[in-house]
């Protein structure tokens, strides 16, 4: 089908002109969207470099109930701080240990989940890739359904188990269900099924055992996939709110994602700085692994197969 396409030469000029106009319009539209998409993030970052007094004069109307000092009548959303200062960061990270502690909580929750979930999933995905049968595809289908269940369904079972095992209000109540969440299994199986079967067959002929095939052939082949899935799991849990609210109700182990919403009105500048700090790990991961991430998302494609 793909041969040279003939077009009438005198149509070409008009067609091209129309095309250029269309492309310019499209470019401007994309640009407008890009500004909308970037604005909230950029504003949060630039606002974090403002001093507390500048924040107060800009947003005093919104956040402070007892207003001290000069408060402007209107809100003043500003891009560039009058004077760039790192004072908020110094307060948040060095002077008051509270925020740093919550940030550390977030890390303590998310890192074990990422490592655990990807490891458990890698082994399970290998099983789903290497052997198929009615029972196993039934289990796989069940995993897909479970993956699609919202928190309203899974949190009650999680709560019950945590209660039985005495894990409530401890980080394990979130980590353990996180480790066994089926999302990575699903995605990794999709990746592994693309490994050429001949590779595995050849290793088998050479006398390699299953564990060897798994570690020497399968894992190196999916290195990129493992990275992309790890990023996806990381951002999902870095952003968590529902689980800690229920499973860590009265606990000092709350992550920063929940704590940020409980900032009191006097500390808005500080909140901007800590919000920025909280973005940094995921933004760095994004900048470093965007290609992998895109590949990972694209491979979800459809739930079937």
């Amino acid at each position: 089908m793909s041969g040279p396409v003939n077009r009438h030469p005198y149509h070409k000029a008009a067609w091209k002109k129309k095309r250029v106009f269309g492309r310019t319009a499209m470019f401007l539209l994309c640009l407008a969207f890009a500004v909308l998409f970037l604005l909230p993030t950029v504003l949060t970052i630039t606002n974090s470099f403002m001093s507390e007094s500048e924040i107060k004069s800009n947003y005093g109307m919104i956040f402070s109930t007892t207003s001290g000092g000069f408060v402007s009548k209107t809100v003043n959303l500003k891009f560039i701080p009058d004077r760039v200062t790192f004072s908020q960061y110094v307060t948040g990270l060095i002077k008051s240990p509270e925020y740093l502690l919550k940030l550390w909580n977030s890390i303590l929750l998310v890192v074990p989940i990422v490592i655990g979930q990807v490891s458990v999933a890698a082994v399970a995905a290998y099983s789903f890739t290497r052997w198929r049968g009615k029972i196993r595809s039934g289990i796989f289908f069940f995993y897909v359904i479970l993956m699609l269940m919202p928190y309203q369904v899974t949190l009650v079972p999680n709560y019950l188990v945590s209660e039985w095992l005495g894990l409530l209000n401890r980080p394990w109540a979130i980590i353990l269900p996180g480790v066994f969440a089926p999302f990575s299994v699903f995605l990794l199986t999709k990746f592994m099924r693309r490994i050429p079967y001949s590779l595995i067959e050849a290793a088998k002929v050479d006398g390699a055992g299953e564990w060897e095939i798994f570690t020497r052939i399968c894992l190196p082949q999916c290195r990129a996939a493992l990275y992309s899935i790890a990023i996806l799991v990381f951002i999902d849990y870095w952003n968590m709110v529902e689980q800690p609210l229920i499973l860590l109700q009265d606990s000092d182990a709350q992550p920063l994602s929940v704590f940020l919403s409980q900032v009191n009105a006097g500390e808005i500048g500080l909140a901007f700085a800590m919000a920025t700090v909280y973005m940094i790990p995921s933004l760095l991961l994004f900048l470093h692994g965007e290609e992998y991430l895109v590949e990972g998302i694209a491979n979800q494609g459809s739930v079937k197969g």
Binding site: F27, P40, L146, V153, V156, E210, I297
Partner: protein, 295 residues
Amino acid sequence: MKRSREQRRIRLRDFLTSLCFLMPSLLGVGLFFILPFGVVVYYAMIDGVASKNFVFLDNFTRLFENAAFRMAARNTLKFSAMAVPLAVVLPICLALMLECRIPGKSQFRTFFLSPMMVPVASVVLIWQVLFNYNGTVNEFFMAFGAERIDWLQSDYSMIVVLLLFLWKNLGYNMILFMSGLANIPKDLLEAADVAGASETYKFFALKLRYLSPTVLFVTILSLISSFKVFREVYLLTGDYPYESLYMLQHFMNNTFRSLDYQKLSAAAVVMAIVMVALIALLFKIEDWFGKDVEG
């Protein structure tokens, strides 16, 4: 005879090996999801954890009569009905825009995807500044002579949350559609070009057909994320939001506080049934719609 026994032995060995690999995950899923969910179903049908009388559907009727649950369910469904179509259609538009030959395509993709990486907790401050009674959006509208609105305390509050939801999710869905578009056979599109097909025809007759599995997947994903919108609402407005923002997860959280296991379990079971039914329905629709392009 001997050979078939040998084969059976190999098959059994394979089965056991595969089970070994699956075991860690299966045990975890069993312990943390399946087993407790069984208990949840049981709890949903007894009258109390202590008395354990079997009442079958009483808890469900009680749940459906509960005003808070009905309001939460109504709000959640309303939000999903608004959010899911937009979260499917807008990313298709974005993906088609990025298919055109424009400069800086990969930069645009990065920009559109970036909100996905920003924790909601980090940007709610900006949303609060924008949509406060004294906020920037009101300032802007007032310049055109419109009335001030206290966005988060009004019937418009859902729109504020919707904007945050779309901002966060559009990029992700766009990537899914971009990969779907990239998988359409090139010679098919070229053939359509040769035959002089218009862009509109090409989109509806070819592209959308091939995208139908992706449309299904994005619909399911968006449906699930729309059930998670409690997160955005909670971070914006706390435990007790304006009435129209009271979501199912709020209901669950408040019920957790009073530890009414029967109500909680019944709600979880209802949600599970609704989800499975919705997903099955979407599968059916997709089967019917995309049957001639699969394979």
